[in-house]
């Protein structure tokens, strides 16, 4: 267990260092609009076309509300966590690769849902925004990914090399 925790911490530290190596301008102007802004706008439009929400750089805005996607609020922490936990677990590389790919896809989907959801909360229930954004949603994301990890363990553990 200690070895697992140490390996996970090392992997996480590596991901974190690489992430902070990306200039903030690249994140705000190139990555966030394509990866999160436009897909979140499409999701909000699909649910409520009258919102007239648009994505510019790292901002989602409409006449009702505006959200800013900043470093650390892009789901990277959860992504690094699940990838580090998958890579730290002693199993086959095939199982690890599957864990990383499915984990990343799930984190991305949940983060888009989070962004769209937070937009609606900011627009229609502003008093709920702070407790949801800073307290309930982050821990819920961790729980969701922990459940994914448990499911992955159930699948990957039998493939452990002996």
């Amino acid at each position: 267990m200690l070895g697992f925790a140490l390996r996970m911490l090392v992997c996480y530290g590596l991901f974190h260092a690489l992430y902070f190596w990306i200039p903030i301008e690249v994140l705000h102007d190139k990555i966030y609009p394509r990866l999160f802004g436009q897909p979140a706008v499409a999701m909000i439009d699909a649910l409520q076309p009258a919102e007239a929400v648009s994505a510019q750089a790292n901002r989602l805005s409409s006449p009702r509300a505006a959200l800013e996607i900043v470093r650390g609020c892009d789901g990277s922490g959860v992504l690094f966590l699940v990838c580090a936990a998958v890579l730290a677990f002693p199993t086959s590389w095939r199982a690890r690769l599957a864990g990383v790919l499915f984990g990343a896809a799930l984190v991305y989907a949940l983060n888009l849902l989070r962004l769209a959801g937070l937009y609606f909360v900011a627009a229609y229930r502003p008093p709920w925004f702070l407790p949801l954004h800073t307290y309930f949603v982050p821990t819920l994301l961790i729980v969701a990914m922990a459940l994914f990890y448990l499911a992955w363990l159930g699948w990957a553990a039998p493939a452990r090399p002996r």
Binding site: S76, F80, L81, L150, A151, L153
Partner: protein, 200 residues
């Protein structure tokens, strides 16, 4: 076993989140002397105190009320004078996130017997305190350092990022989730290794 762990995790998250949301202020208020002491240890050049205040929106904030106790040299002759107020704030419930994760993890990890479960639950108190002390004070001091970096930068002074700022950035980008999980893993390993009563 994994299904049982998943159910325990969901139940633990619901209970811990609700408890933190309802009673977190009391916990934070009780911890402010320790948080003040930690801030003083991290930034001895500041005269400081941590308190819990109303944020005016139905929530609370941890307020670090700090002043420079001595001139603070930022480089190239740029100095923050003595007595300069340098306040910083952190959202109250946000500070509790690592504690919710720690408690949920410790309730979820499987125990072989009741004694192990009791030890895991008992470790919440020291580990919770440790998690709080390696997160909240650094977040407050890190925000001050961030303001000082901006101030130095606006005067054309390049200042190396202090360690507390690096740590705050680590915490803000997910470190506050990783640390409680690592603490829980270490506690679990300790309980498994030393916690089980040996039958002879």
């Amino acid at each position: 076993m994994l299904r049982a762990a998943a159910l325990r995790l969901c139940a633990a998250w619901v209970v811990c989140s609700a408890l933190g949301f309802l009673f977190g202020d009391t916990l934070l208020r009780g911890a402010t002397p320790l948080l003040s002491a930690a801030v003083h240890w991290i930034a001895p050049e500041l005269q400081s105190g941590v308190s819990l205040i109303d944020d005016g929106r139905g929530g609370t904030q941890l307020l670090l009320d700090a002043r420079t106790e001595q001139p603070l040299a930022l480089g190239d002759g740029l100095v923050v004078p003595v007595g300069q107020a340098l306040p910083s704030r952190a959202n109250g419930v946000h500070v509790l996130v690592p504690l919710v994760i720690l408690c949920s993890a410790l309730f979820t990890l499987p125990a072989r017997d009741r004694r192990e479960r009791v030890l895991l639950v008992a470790s919440i108190l020291p580990l919770g305190l440790a998690v709080l002390l390696v997160t909240a004070p650094f977040q407050l001091v890190g925000l001050i350092e961030l303001a000082l970096q901006d101030y130095a930068s606006s005067h054309g002074v390049a200042r190396a990022d202090p360690l507390s700022l690096h740590w705050m950035l680590f915490l803000e980008s997910g470190g506050r989730w990783v640390l409680p999980l690592v603490f829980a893993a270490v506690s679990y390993a300790g309980v498994r290794r030393f916690g089980t009563r040996r039958l002879t």
